[in-house]
């Protein structure tokens, strides 16, 4: 049979089989598995059918716990049901997995295996999640590449129906889930042949049904539970054989033969590696290479890990084996060994003890590799084999890192390579926004589908959401590609942004004779002089071919803007000679049509024009014989940075984190603050420039700046001494801080992302030329040097004393120093202005509990953190626990703080005479309601500490212990502010139960919901905050239900302060709400409208969208203050004037609404009408609430 060849990634391969062989699919987004659910949702939305001609039902739940519950329910009701997940998501499914397995229920969970968060969260791949399910009774089946993913998904589906054992089918997160490869697509006939209809009917017959009622899920007692648990034994014994049967059946049908344990290598191998997952491909490639050279090495690839068949395993081992190295991609601290190692030791020892071992007892060692997608290369495989050569091989080793604390790591030679010369290996460095990755994904498809070559594409992104660099790794060639690691010996390197050349030594990975393509604005004749010395050296010494293109020129001429994807792709095909020039152009155009045709002819034509204009602008540059450049690579951080930043952070920034040894890292995941300021990213092409003549000093630009890069200061003129010559300042227009004060507005041009929100909100216009405002955008490069100097000078000017600032006014509040700066959030982010505001108002006494999501990534993703300290070393202390438990996590902060505070007060009272009653009185009674009182209390605490230290010096009796305790808790006498932050996915969905509970406790916590109305961090999936009529992932046909009214639900408790804010509509209201919420001695909830890149808007105008949302009445501004109720007043104040414009006029400013009019016009029409009714009805409801007058109680 001729099957389609498709070029897809592992996630799509799994989703393809799962969709075709199931009826119900329950989903929840989590990286890196979200795409599987997204594919299924999209297919279901367009009516794609499974192998029985039915459209599977795809349903999103509120958490993975919820998804697994629904899976369990649908299975018990007889539907073929599946789900997709990873990491913490899989952990949340474990309770149901026990049930599903205990009830012998057929299902397959497809898992893109990912690290479980421990000392840190990681989205990347290893087996720690899957290993945590070993005890559930699920079978565990590992696939190693996208082809195997598609195949094993089907084999698992067939085997689960056959064996009644539920399966986890897993593959490595990112390395396989996101690896784009050319594979053979299974046909519906293949799938139907494998999935036995009779078994499907048998599964259905076991369903709970009132027509054939049974009871399942009893509670049992000590007398029988044990026996009941043992009933399943025959099924587990039979399962491996059944899986092998299905593998054999599959082989007959499709031609690819798999075994439970596949052996690769020399027949007489003496050294054998045993492992599973994508790393086995790199090991196989190495074994092929070494065995061909006569080395006696081999590899056992474990496919079915549970139920573990000792017999099948031993029959796969060559008789000649003398030593075994077992590799685990997980870590179990404290265990005698990692799981696979323990299983292998057990298997051999058990057979040996039983006298059934047919081989000589081999040496067995185990080691860990590849945690969180750490590279696993042939060089490491060789090191593992070499370790077996020694008399006493290292056991419990690590490979791939330098473990210099307990010295467990194996050394390896990074230069060792086994890659075939005939395989093309290209690396492409681009910006996220320039379309490089998309172009390369297309190129791989073109090559995969246009030639007989094997093809692979893998894409690496950095951890910033704005100005991020991408590296595409493309391989293709006649040989099967088994290289499951990044390219480190490239024969093609493309640099799509010349600025990278000064930051990265990208040609170090070029092999001799390779090709280098550079996108540059500099003409052919002058380009040589613009290259750094190291680049020139590599070009000469490695005899590289050098091509240049001015892709931005072509993009501008053809309407492509900043998208150079098609242009660079055309260059690549023109240089690489994979196809003739004409054929390449035809194929590219064909691909453009396929990709963009659906979006309109204009887009297609624009791309066609770009292709046609490219070749005339592509030039080969003759490489001179001599290095002439004096340009050096830029250091990642300045020499003034602290040691940790220079030794650790800087390495990570430079892309050399892999080289850092274990000893350099904190043992418990604790990192210092204020590190983003060292990472001068220089990503903005244009930055704001202040015009003091026009400025009205309103500080609106400062409050909206998402990255804290535009700041204002008021100061005495004396501080201008020694100012740089271009430093700008003017007279402060108000007298609040004294006569003749000076005002400066300064931009950190090296940290600015160029979003333009500041310019957009600036209300001051130049009287001569109204196109100019008080701040205007200008090119960054010419300003960089001077403004760097100005910024440093600006920072040296003292901050205003917090005690004199009128924090209740927006303008004045912006003289408070932000303790959240230069985050990696999207340019123009709508969340970070709120986060920054918290840091300004309360940062020096705040503890933040941050739910997993965008805010935890821009807040806590290495290399640097935006959370910062003030000159006293105080600042927000921040932590992220999980996605689902954030409210409870922050609640725990409050409990501990209150406890410390209470204990300190008790001890103060107890030792009042020793400490001094005046000081104790002051410490116990300072109200701490404003900055002055907090300052006063801090002074009191300092006196207390001094006193305690004196007492401790003098004391030698029994008081020492308690005085020491008091000293350790003295700081808790200063009011602490607990902030619980997160997105709507957390607050409305997965964490809602906890949030609701924490609000109900009445404890003094402040909850900030950064409401983007979708799961932004994982790519815009629908949440219960998504409004009716908006398109989101998992709601491709528009969200059919209205947004949940979280605020109203919280108000129902009566004692929760609730505010709904939108900074872009009313910044003063936002400020007031934050101050009131924090001042309220009880739980507070602020729901903050956060415009988002997932709305499909111009982020530089996001504040306008916020205003429109409020003007339409869709987003109401209000405050519900329980303190007013205590005063006998209506606690609810509606603070906006809504219904000023139809919802449509706001909604259709945003792609999330508008795209529905293009994809599902009829539904769009209906939903927008319904959404307008929602708005009007809700508005009236709130008006009614606001108009309520409390009855006067009779005296």
């Amino acid at each position: 049979m001729n099957r389609n060849k498709v070029t897809i990634d592992g996630n799509e391969a799994a989703a393809y089989t799962a969709f075709h062989t199931n009826e119900v699919i329950a989903i929840y987004p989590i990286t890196p598995s979200s795409n599987m659910g997204e594919h299924c949702d999209a297919w279901s939305a367009v009516g794609k059918k499974n192998i029985w001609g039915l459209i599977p039902t795809v349903s999103e739940l509120q958490s993975e716990g919820g998804a697994s519950g629904s899976v369990h329910g649908a299975l018990q009701s007889g539907a073929l049901t599946t789900t997709f997940t990873a990491s913490q998501g899989l952990l949340l499914m474990i309770p149901n997995m026990f049930k599903i397995a205990g009830e012998l229920t057929s299902t397959v969970f497809h898992v893109s295996a990912r690290s479980v968060a421990a000392h840190a969260l990681s989205i990347f791949g290893d087996h720690s999640d899957v290993m945590a399910t070993r005890q559930t009774g699920f079978a565990l089946l590992a696939s190693n590449n996208p082809q195997e993913v598609m195949d094993f998904a089907l084999i698992a589906q067939a085997a689960t129906l056959n064996s009644r054992i539920p399966f986890v089918h897993f593959f490595d997160g990112f390395r396989t889930s996101h690896d784009v490869m050319k594979i053979e697509e299974l046909s519906t006939e293949d799938m139907h042949s494998m999935v036995d209809d009779e078994l499907v009917i048998a599964h259905r017959k076991r369903a709970l049904s009132p027509d054939n009622p049974v009871l399942r899920g009893t509670a049992q007692n000590p007398d029988v539970f044990f026996q009941g648990r043992e009933t399943v034994n025959p099924y587990y014994i039979a399962c491996p054989g059944m899986v092998q049967e299905q593998m054999d059946k599959f082989a007959k049908l499709v031609g690819r033969q798999y075994k439970l344990f596949d052996y690769i290598g020399a027949k007489d191998a003496e050294k054998v590696i045993i492992m599973m997952g994508s790393g086995a491909s790199a090991a196989e490639e190495t074994v092929d290479y070494l065995a061909a050279k006569g080395e006696k090495v081999g590899l056992v690839k474990v496919r079915l890990y549970r139920p573990f068949s000792i017999d099948h395993f031993l029959s796969a081992l060559p008789q000649s084996v003398k030593s075994i190295s077992v590799l685990d991609r997980t870590k179990e601290p404290g265990a005698p060994g990692e799981p696979l190692y323990m299983d292998i030791v057990n298997a051999i020892s058990e057979k040996f003890v039983a006298g059934e071992l047919k081989i000589n007892y081999p040496k067995i060692v185990g080691g860990r590799y590849g945690l969180s997608s750490k590279e696993f290369t042939p060089a490491m495989v060789k090191a593992v084999f070499d370790n077996l050569d020694s008399e006493k091989p290292k056991n419990h080793f690590t490979v791939g890192i330098k473990e210099d604390v307990t010295n467990s790591s194996l050394d390896f030679d990074p230069a060792f390579s086994v890659e075939a010369d005939e395989t093309f290996r290209g690396k492409f460095y681009g910006l996220g926004a320039d379309g490089t990755v998309g172009a390369n994904k297309n190129s791989i498809k073109i090559i995969g589908e246009g030639t007989d070559y094997n093809a692979q594409g893998y894409f690496v992104y950095d951890s910033k959401k704005s100005g991020s660099m991408t590296i595409s790794h493309l391989r293709f060639g006649p040989k099967t590609i088994k290289s499951t690691y990044l390219i480190n010996k490239a024969n093609f390197i493309a640099c799509h942004q010349q600025v990278f050349l000064e930051k990265l030594d990208m040609l170090k990975e070029a092999i001799e004779g390779a090709t280098f393509l550079l996108n540059t604005k500099i003409p052919k004749e002058e380009v040589w002089d613009s290259l750094p010395e190291k680049v020139q050296k590599d070009l000469i010494e490695k005899k590289l071919k050098f091509y240049i293109i001015d892709a931005y020129k072509v993009a501008n001429e053809t309407g492509m803007g900043a998208r150079i994807n098609t242009i660079m792709q055309t260059c690549f095909f023109a240089i690489s000679n994979i196809f003739t020039k004409d054929k390449a152009i035809d194929l590219i155009k064909d691909s453009i049509k396929k990709t963009y045709g659906v979006k309109g002819d204009k887009i297609v034509q624009m791309n066609f024009d770009a292709v046609d204009k490219t070749l005339a602008n592509l030039f080969e540059v003759e490489v001179p014989g001599k290095v002439t450049s004096k340009i050096q690579l830029q250091p990642p951080v300045s020499g003034n940075a602290p040691d940790f930043v220079k030794e650790v952070t800087a390495k990570i920034i430079a892309g050399e984190g892999d080289d850092l040894p274990v000893s350099k890292f904190p043992v418990d995941g604790t990192f210092p603050l204020s590190t983003t300021k060292w990472e001068k990213r220089n990503i903005a092409l244009e930055v704001p420039v202040w015009d003091p003549e026009v400025c009205i000093q309103c500080n609106k630009c400062v409050v909206v700046c998402p990255h804290a890069t535009i700041r204002a200061k008021v100061y005495d003129e004396k501080h201008l001494k020694d100012m740089p010559d271009t430093f700008k300042h003017t007279k402060f227009r108000a007298k609040d801080y004294g006569d003749d004060m000076i005002y400066s507005l300064q931009v950190a041009v090296e940290d600015c992302t160029g979003c333009e929100l500041c310019v957009d909100v600036c209300p001051a216009k130049n009287k001569k030329e109204t196109r100019l405002k008080a701040i205007n955008m200008a090119e960054q490069i010419p300003l960089r040097e001077k403004e760097r100097e100005n910024w440093d000078f600006f920072l040296s000017i003292p901050e205003l004393d917090r005690r004199v600032i009128n924090v209740a006014k927006v303008k004045d509040s912006q003289f408070l120093e932000p303790l959240f700066e230069f985050s990696g959030a999207c340019s123009g982010c709508g969340e970070t202005p709120y986060v920054k505001l918290v840091s300004q108002l309360f940062g020096d006494r705040t503890i933040v509990a941050n739910a997993t999501g965008c805010s935890s990534i821009y807040g806590g993703n290495l290399p640097t953190t935006p959370w910062a300290t003030d000159k006293n070393g105080r600042g927000p202390s921040w932590s992220n626990s999980l996605f689902e438990d954030n409210a409870e996590f922050g609640f725990g902060f409050r409990l501990a703080i209150d406890k410390h505070n209470a204990q300190a007060k008790e001890l103060l009272k107890k030792y009042s005479d020793d400490i001094g009653t005046t000081l104790v009185d002051a410490l116990l009674n300072t109200p701490q309601k404003d900055e002055a009182e907090i300052y006063e209390q801090r002074e009191n605490v300092e006196l207390l500490k001094k006193k305690l230290k004196d007492l401790l010096k003098a004391e030698s009796n029994g008081k020492t212990g308690e005085l020491n305790h008091l000293l350790s808790m003295a700081d808790y006498l200063v009011k602490k502010s607990v902030w619980i932050m997160g997105g709507d996915g957390w607050a409305y969905d997965i964490g809602y139960g906890g949030l609701d509970h924490v609000l109900a406790t009445g404890k003094n916590v402040n909850v900030l919901v950064l409401d983007t109305e979708v799961y932004s961090n994982t790519g815009g999936q629908c949440s219960k905050a998504t409004p009716r009529g908006a398109v989101a992932k998992f709601a491709a046909a528009g969200k059919p239900a209205a947004k949940k009214d979280l605020g109203l639900m919280a108000m129902s408790y009566g004692n929760v302060y609730v505010a709904k804010v939108a900074m872009g509509a009313n910044d003063q209201h936002t400020l007031r709400a934050f101050l009131e919420a924090e001042a309220y001695d009880g739980p507070s909830l602020i729901i903050a409208y956060s415009h988002c890149i997932a709305h499909g808007i111009n982020m530089g105008k996001g504040m306008k969208n916020q205003k429109a949302a409020v003007d339409s009445g869709y987003w109401q501004l209000y405050r519900f203050n329980p303190e007013l109720a205590e005063e006998g007043k209506n606690p609810f104040k509606l603070d906006s004037k809504g219904l000023k414009m139809p919802l449509k006029d706001y909604a259709y400013m945003e792609t999330r609404y508008k795209m529905l009019t293009k994809s599902h016009p009829k539904i769009a029409d209906q939903l927008i009408k319904e959404a307008q009714i929602d708005v009007t009805t809700k508005w009236k409801e709130y008006e009614r609430l606001a108009s309520w007058e409390p009855e006067k109680s009779e005296e």
């Binding site: 998309g438 979006k599 109204t770 508008k1154």
Partner: protein, 329 residues
């Protein structure tokens, strides 16, 4: 009493025709127009530029943020099909045709020549009875010569004429140096009718925000004087049917326009202001007037007050300001 009229070779039961505007976006409104006595309807304009803009906007917002960050390689579901072209507009034509008996006149504003031709053909295929070409080029470029621009207008009409069979009207604006000559040229190029005149939105400036603000204001009854004069002048001197638009509010406005030579009178502002039922009111008042003045049909009065039929045609010619003032006194 015969109110029927011929326009672009179509038989209309009344000269009252709602003109292109948002009011024709609902099929139910079109049905109400017919019930109120409208002779035909000109649908809102299909703007090629808008379709193009929407396509680019959607492309930008769905494509550009993607592939930047490992957890979010995209932010929107990728629909398998978008209706980025004129599908909705064409469906609207088909639905309107199914719903009412009166002629449906589509309206088109193209951007590229290819767009003018393609969309015209699709509009014809969708069943429109006639097509009104809403052509305008804002001559903001001081290097652009008027002659070149005028040729561009005629060229579009000629090319569209050669591609479709349904009648074509051209909505003219009054800013040509020689309106009369342009009318002749457009007719020569293939325009079966001329609609006088197109009204452009007139931007305002906001003194608070110091921003230019798009500002759509309804036409006032005084605005009808301009088309009235030019229809009077052109009547009988061009083979094109003349349609009056702008500032037509009452039965007397309609009657005046017909008397100077209009085949139909297009109304929009008054319908936005008073509702669709206004058509019925104007119709009945017009009948009353005609009865009172003993007119039997609109045909009878058409052109009776045109340049060629009045006793003092010079009054339609450009007269200087002082003379007008004098006559007023």
């Amino acid at each position: 009493m015969d109110l029927s009229t011929d326009y672009l070779g179509l038989k209309l039961k009344s000269p009252l025709v709602p003109s292109a505007g948002p009011i024709t976006q609902e099929i139910s409104s079109i049905k109400q127009m017919e019930d109120a006595g409208a002779g035909a309807v000109v649908l809102y304009s299909l703007f090629e530029e808008q379709l193009e803009h929407e396509s680019l906007e959607l492309h930008h917002h769905t494509e550009v943020p993607g592939e930047s960050f490992a957890e979010a390689t995209s932010y929107f579901p990728e629909p398998f099909e978008y209706k980025m072209g004129p599908e909705e507009y064409l469906k609207h034509i088909r639905k309107a045709k199914e719903t009412v008996d009166m002629p449906i006149i589509a309206s088109l504003n193209g951007k590229s020549l290819g767009g003018w031709i393609d969309y015209s053909k699709q509009i014809e295929q969708a069943g429109a009875d006639a097509l009104e070409l809403n052509i305008y080029f804002m001559a903001t470029d001081i290097e652009q010569k008027s002659e070149e621009l005028e040729k561009k207008y005629a060229h579009i009409v000629k090319r569209v004429r050669s591609e479709i069979k349904i009648p074509i009207a051209v909505k003219m604006h009054p800013f040509f140096s020689s309106v009369a000559h342009m009318a002749k040229e457009l007719n020569k190029a293939g325009a079966d009718g001329l609609v006088l005149f197109n009204r452009f939105y007139q931007p305002d400036i906001n003194l608070e925000t110091l921003e230019v603000e798009p500002n759509v204001i309804l036409s006032t009854p005084f605005a009808m004087r301009l088309p009235l004069r030019w229809i009077a002048i052109l009547y009988g001197r061009t083979n094109a049917d003349l349609a009056a638009t702008t500032g037509i509010y009452t039965e007397t406005d309609v009657i005046k326009m017909i008397m100077v030579g209009a085949k139909i009178t297009q109304m929009l502002s008054c319908l936005l202001k008073y509702g669709i039922g206004h058509i019925a009111e104007v119709t009945s008042k017009m009948k009353l007037w005609m009865e009172e003045k003993e007119y039997e049909s609109v045909e009878q009065m058409r052109g009776s007050m045109s340049y060629m039929n009045v006793d003092d045609p010079a009054k339609f010619e450009r007269a200087n300001y002082t003379k007008v003032l004098h006559s007023y006194k």
